[in-house]
């Protein structure tokens, strides 16, 4: 495209955005790929002048038993808390809200949204207190004569998965509420007249109509959950040991607790690639809105 003076003037307003994005978004991504091939450390000479060490960080990753474990924990965390938990809870709540009376609807949606609007560190404290061995959950279980375990130590993944469902369901609920509102009522009524029960109507009428919202929401919740750090860090610190260290926690600990920035960067690079794959799928789904 020949850049005429008019064309150039049109592009100028984009410049600040391009500079900021290039420096602080693209820069770290490029740096991540580069840094993962170095022995960069937190302090000392290797902090300012890291040396090129080739694929050593990646071979170390494969040899490190913590990495495959962390990768597996991340998959479990994302699948159970986002793909299953938040999405199923979200669509269920959206459906229930439609047949609820107004006061119940306001109370339920306000409470669910409040858990999502809270700052993440406060949400994490609240979840920590709830699952603590002397917390609300065990007090309630004690009330019906059950001595609950120390959830944060004996079942850390279960605790953080439930906490993340609690924290994030609001987003799916809102997306599905908007989607369900656009399903033409004639469709479900026609199915009802044909003798379809509630579950059949959901499976054969409602879900196919809102499939685009479902795929968009699955992608977004997956990406959001992939980068959850604070909730897990506050509740369990990734422990006990590395029993709840998902990839963001592992990358943080390698880089800042064990001062191996290069190694932590290699883990970050793996996360960026995983995130990029999901993003590309998501953007392909959204293509019509850009073109």
């Amino acid at each position: 495209m020949a850049l005429t003076s008019r064309g150039a003037a049109r592009v100028v307003p984009l410049a600040p955005a391009v500079v900021l994005l290039a420096l602080f978004m693209l820069g770290p991504v490029v740096w991540s790929f580069y840094g993962s091939f170095t022995n960069a450390s937190l302090t000392g000479p290797a902090a300012l002048n890291p040396e090129w060490i080739g694929l050593d960080n990646y071979t170390a990753l494969i040899g490190d038993p913590d990495f495959p474990k962390s990768l597996w924990l991340t998959i479990v965390f994302v699948f159970l808390s986002a793909v299953v938990g938040q999405n199923v809870m979200g669509i269920m709540l959206a459906g229930l809200l439609r047949s609820a009376v107004k006061p119940v609807r306001s109370i339920a949606s306000t409470v669910v949204v409040a858990a999502w609007v809270l700052p993440e560190i406060v949400a994490a404290f609240a979840a920590y207190a709830f699952f603590h061995s002397e917390g609300t959950l065990n007090t309630m279980l004690g009330g019906i004569g059950i001595t609950g375990p120390d959830w944060l130590y004996s079942t850390p993944m279960l605790a953080v998965i439930i906490a993340n469902i609690w924290r994030g369901t609001a987003f799916s609920m809102m997306v599905y509420s908007a989607a369900l509102a656009e399903v033409p009522p004639e469709l479900t009524e026609a199915a009802q007249l044909d003798g379809a029960n509630g579950l059949q109507r959901l499976a054969w009428v409602t879900l196919p109509v809102i499939r685009r919202s479902i795929s968009t929401n699955l992608m977004l919740t997956t990406l959001q959950t992939l980068s959850v750090f604070t909730l897990i860090y506050v509740m369990t610190g990734g422990g006990p040991g590395t029993d709840s260290s998902t990839l963001p926690i592992l990358a943080y600990q390698e880089a800042f607790k064990f001062a191996q920035v290069g190694y932590g960067t290699a883990i970050a690079t793996v996360m960026i690639i995983v995130g990029a794959v999901f993003s590309v799928i998501y953007i392909r789904a959204l293509r019509p809105e850009v073109d």
Binding site: R10, V11, L14, P16, A17, L20, L21, F24, M25, G27, V29, W31, S32, L48, L96, S99, A100, V101, K102, S106, S109, T110, V111, V112, V113, A114, L118, P119, E120, I121, V122, A126, A129, G135, T136, T139, F171, M174, V175, A178, L180, P184, P185, Q192, L223, L226, S227, F229, L247, P248, F256, V261, T265, I267, A268, G275, S279, I283, L286, V290
Partner: protein, 296 residues
Amino acid sequence: MTGQMTAPAAKTRPGVVVGQMAGPRVTATKLAANLVLLVIALLFVLPMAWVLVASFDAGATLSFGLPEAVTTANFSAIMTPELTWLPLWNAFVLSAGSGAITVVVAVLAAYPLSRYRMRFGKYFLYSVLFGTCLPITAIMVPVYALFVQLNLLDSLPGTIFFMAATSLPMAIWMTKNFMDSVPISLEEAAWTEGASAMQALRRVVLPLMRPGIAVVFIFVFVQAWGNFFVPFVLLLSPEKQPAAVSIFAFFGQYGSVAYGQLAAYSLLYAAPVLGLYVLVTRISGSAFALAGAVKG
């Protein structure tokens, strides 16, 4: 919060035949739906209710329970300049700073994207969408290394610009959508009177999308206010750290004894965000505005 969520269609549908056929069953189903919702709401509110009750409890524990004695001592204990006011001020500077930068840069970028058919505009929007997806926690280790190289570590302005950049993709996307809904015919009138594109943007477009700009600003502000990981990694000296980080340090030092104070601090820190969310719902007329905007 109003919670307007039923579609108008659902209210106005005739449903005479259906209603007569399935009368009692529909009421039973509705009753069950309301009960299930109340149970879910109770489960969701429990962890949050702990924060509220413990902050006024003289002998707060980690479990939700009625306080032995209601007190405001937890609040007065934490309301010192170095513990609360300075971190809250830092949080405000970070959030307002990145919010202002993001809004200005996003409006400038959205204008050509919304108004001109540019061949690379499409690719720019694709990269912006891609940027909204990038998990920020994944890039924090390399960002730390980059900040070491640029000598920006522990710098408040550096952190503000970084937070502005990370919220920029979503802000550009939202601003462009808001701007698309302002009819171009109004600017064409301004152009024929000799106004430049930037003048038309300032005098015609911006006044018409004030609510949209407020929503974008609040969106960025709330995100920055609640962000823990970014300032936790990039800001090292306690006198520069925002509330999210200092509250975590407080938790590490006294969290195992002073639950009441931790809860009081959490409440004080969360209150502005809850207030702003209510404000957004008022501006945009829907309780689900933020998610709607996120959806694009």
